[in-house]
Each structure stands twice: as C-alpha cells, then as structure tokens.
C-alpha cells in the first residue's frame, strides 16, 4: 500500500510540469467566482453565505472534471507508459488509488484557492463558518465522485476525447437524476416515492444538503459509495 505514495507524488507534481494545471486553475477560479457574482446574484441575495457560489458547482464540474479525469488512464495507454507502470512492483489498486488521490488533491487545491471569496464574506458580514466549511467539504466530496467516474471511463479507452465525452455524459446523467426540473417532469407520471428514490441517486440533493450545513451520514455514504464503486470497477477494467 505504501506504493501509492510514489505514484501519488509523480501524478500530482506532473500536473504542474505542463500548462494543464495553470490553465485549469485559472479557468476554474474565474468561472466559479464569476458565476457566483454575475449569475448567482451574490450581492442581491444579501446573505453572508456562499450559497450563490456553491449552487453552480455541479454544473461547473460537469465540464471541468472530465478535462482532468480524461487523461488519467487514456494518456498512459496512448503513450505506452501503462506497460511500464504495470511491470513495476505495485498492484493495480496502488496505481488506481495513487492516480485518483493525486487528481483529487489537485481539485481540492483548486477549491481551496477560492478562499478569498470566503474571506470576503467574512469581512462583509457574519457568516456561519460551519455551513461554509460543510459546503466546501460537500463540494470536495462531489468532485471526488465526478472524478472517480471519469477515471473509470478513462480506463476504458485510449482516446482522451472519448474519455472526456463519456465523462460528461455519464456525470450529466447523474446530475439530471437529482435535478429539480427533471424530478418535476418525472413526478408528472411517477409516484412520489419513486421520484424521491431516483432523485437520491443523483449528486444535487446530497450536495445541496451539505452546502446548507446539514451533515447527514447518508450524504457522506452516498459520495463514498459512488467513489468506491467507480474505483473498484476501475481496477477490474484495468486487470482485464
């Protein structure tokens, strides 16, 4: 298991060896903060909270996270380095976890870099820091879930574009399942219990709860399960 560390280090530092990291971080920061102010009505809401910031994350991640996840395995296959990696003395699980955690740490860094926004809210008003912390935690967990799905899809193909498109499509499905508009449509012809069940398979209800400060173990279990399932399938896909 200690073999995860060298893989993690290589991957994480690898992001910064090319323009990838910097482009991604800048786009993420500009988009996430920009959406909060210009589309989310940050000032109009007149509340010392980051709700108008967090509400866009499921949609923002839809495009940005497949861009990070698509190269996880597809690039190794393309470049032939997958043969090098899997003839080194480490298990498939070591490699999967090392890469996943490195990508997740990178996304967590991107999130953490939005701290000026949190500080601004703290300066302008008197926010509930617990709620803000829960929001960040929920966003990080959701990012992990998106990423795990994208990593799995990346391991199924050599082509990064296919990995990207599949990543967007599958995550879109998972977002839609919990999207209020879609649920409204479903409730037109399905019983409430069924609609609720379907909705809870999606990201939004669980993330919403966390971003409002509700620490429900079921939401943690949800994100944990998605990540665990996707990573398990990732190992299976690679060992085929």
């Amino acid at each position: 298991m200690s073999q995860i560390t060298p893989v993690f280090k290589r991957e994480f530092l690898g992001y910064f060896r090319s323009p990838v990291a910097y482009v991604f971080l800048i786009v993420f920061l500009v988009a996430s903060v920009g959406l909060a102010f210009f589309v989310g009505g940050f000032f109009k809401a007149n509340q010392a909270s980051l709700q108008s910031f967090f509400v866009f994350h499921p949609w923002l991640y839809l495009f940005l996270i497949p861009a990070v996840g698509m190269r996880l395995w597809a690039e190794e296959r393309r470049g032939g380095t997958i043969e090098l990696l899997f003839t080194l003395p480490l298990t498939t699980l070591d490699a999967v976890l090392g890469k996943f955690f490195a990508a997740w740490a990178f996304l967590a860094l991107a999130l953490a870099l939005t701290f000026p926004l949190a500080l601004t809210v703290g300066w302008l008003g008197d926010p509930d820091w617990g709620v803000i912390a829960a929001g960040y935690l929920g966003s990080a967990l959701m990012a992990g879930a998106y990423l795990a799905v994208c990593a799995l899809l990346s391991s199924l193909t050599k082509n990064q574009v296919i990995a990207f498109v599949l990543g967007v499509v599958v995550n879109l499905a998972l977002v839609f399942l919990g999207w209020s508009v879609f649920n409204g449509l479903l409730s037109g012809f399905l019983p409430v219990a069924a609609v609720d069940f379907i909705a809870n398979l999606g990201f939004i209800p669980h993330f919403d709860a966390l971003s409002k400060g509700i620490l429900d173990p079921r939401d943690f279990a949800y994100f944990g399960s998605v990540i665990a399932l996707a990573l398990t399938l990732n190992v299976v896909a690679l060992e085929r």
């Binding site: 470049g79 032939g80 080194l88």
Partner: protein, 240 residues
C-alpha cells in the same frame, strides 16, 4: 532464473503464443529471435506480468508470476519496446520515481542508485532534460537506466538496440555483456549479428512456437558457412 512452461496466449482466433517452454539460467544471455508477430513480445509481457497467460506458467526465481506478480516484478528489470517513459519528467525526476517505486525510500540510497544508473548508461549530460526532448538514443538509454536501477537478477529487454546508430548499438551491447555476469538476460532482436555478438543461446519463435533452442554455434552448424538470415528464413518459412 526464468522458467517458462507451455505458455499460451490467444487473441480472438489467433494463438499468439502456442505452448512456449524454455529456461534461462544466471549468466545466460538468451537471444529471442523471430519474425514480427511470432509471439516474442507477448511472451516477454507474460514473463514480466503485464499480460496474464491463458495457460501455462512463468516462474522467476522460483516465484510464479500468476501467484505473486509483485514479487516477480521486483526481481525483473524490463525494457519494453520503444522504451516508454513519462515524457514531461526530466531524466533525474523519472529515475527518482522509479527508485522510489523500487523501494529506495531514503534520499541517500535513492541518490546513490540513480547516480550509478546514470553513470552506467552515460546519461549525465542530459540528467536535467525533459525526456520528450531527448533523441532516440538517449530515450533508449533512459529505458535501460530504469531497468537496471535496482540491479535485478533478471533482465528482459525488448529490442534494446532498436533505432540506435552503430556506435550506440555497440555501447548498449557492451553494457548488456557487463550486466549479464551473474544474471539471466532475455533480449529480443531482429538484428542477427547481435546474436553472435553477445548471446550464448538462441531461441527462434515462429507462429507462437519455439522452433529452435540452442547455442549460436549449433545454429550456425545447421548450414555451415551460410549467413544467419538465410538459416532464419529457412526455419521460419517452413512453418509459415
């Protein structure tokens, strides 16, 4: 010591490796010859644990690759075809990564191993250069350096002199000869003079089967005075 017994690998309808058996002892430099598509690379990939055999066993130092792949991988230095490496890393960064995965966790130990590998493969002048910017000859040497970094008891080299100029070929062959002192070495090649230059045994594979398993002298003796490629053609055409 490498022992291969009745290895089989099938891709769809094609039997890429069809019951290959042989043994390589410490001190042997085994030349793996055969036409393209004969099954050389596939056999090597099974020995190094990259591919799982459909039938048969591959044992390295008494350990079955299927039972304990990680233990086997730690005893082999493998140079895959086209010497894949992480292009965006510098030679030093890459070798440090390999050293860490190979178990050299202390800085001093790692530095020592990496310096030794750099010296042996004459990579000092390019140590801080990104691998993707190196010439083919240097890239091949990086592949070598990572294969011999941990001084493994077995070396599996897939076309180690492919694409090198005559001087570099000579250097690599000299390096293999010094490395083979008490190691089991398998190298695959299309270059028949290489066989005479460094190998003490030849295995000729054609259509997934071992056609010849003998010393270079015995191979020459098949048609005294004939060129090696004439003997090669004769043996591989018969099976085609």
């Amino acid at each position: 010591m490498i022992e291969v017994k009745s290895l089989v690998k099938t891709y769809g309808h094609k039997r890429a490796v069809d019951g290959v058996s042989f043994t390589v002892r410490p001190g042997d430099i085994l030349g793996f010859l055969g036409p393209n598509g004969a099954g050389k690379s596939t056999t090597m990939k099974m020995i190094t644990g990259y591919i799982r055999p459909d039938a048969g066993t591959a044992t390295v130092a008494g350990i079955d690759v299927a039972q304990d792949p990680v233990a086997v991988k730690s005893r082999i230095g493998y140079l895959p075809e086209s010497a894949p490496a992480y292009g965006e890393m510098t030679v030093l960064e890459f070798l440090n990564f390999i050293a860490e995965v190979r178990g050299y966790r202390s800085c001093a130990e790692r530095r020592d191993r990496v310096e030794r590998a750099l010296a042996r493969t004459h990579l000092e002048p390019v140590r801080r250069q990104a691998i993707e910017t190196l010439s083919k000859g240097y890239k091949q040497r990086v592949g070598f350096a990572q294969a011999l970094l941990h001084e493994p008891p077995c070396l599996v080299l897939d076309e180690p002199t492919d694409g090198l100029d005559p001087n570099q070929k000579n250097e690599v062959r000299a390096l293999i000869k010094t490395m083979a002192a008490d190691r089991a070495v398998i190298l695959s090649t299309h270059i028949l003079e290489e066989v005479d230059a460094i190998c003490n045994r030849i295995i000729l594979i054609s259509n997934g089967r071992v056609v010849v398993d003998e010393t270079p002298e015995a191979f020459h003796a098949r048609r005294p005075g004939a060129r090696l490629d004439a003997i090669f053609r004769e043996l591989t055409n018969v099976d085609a």
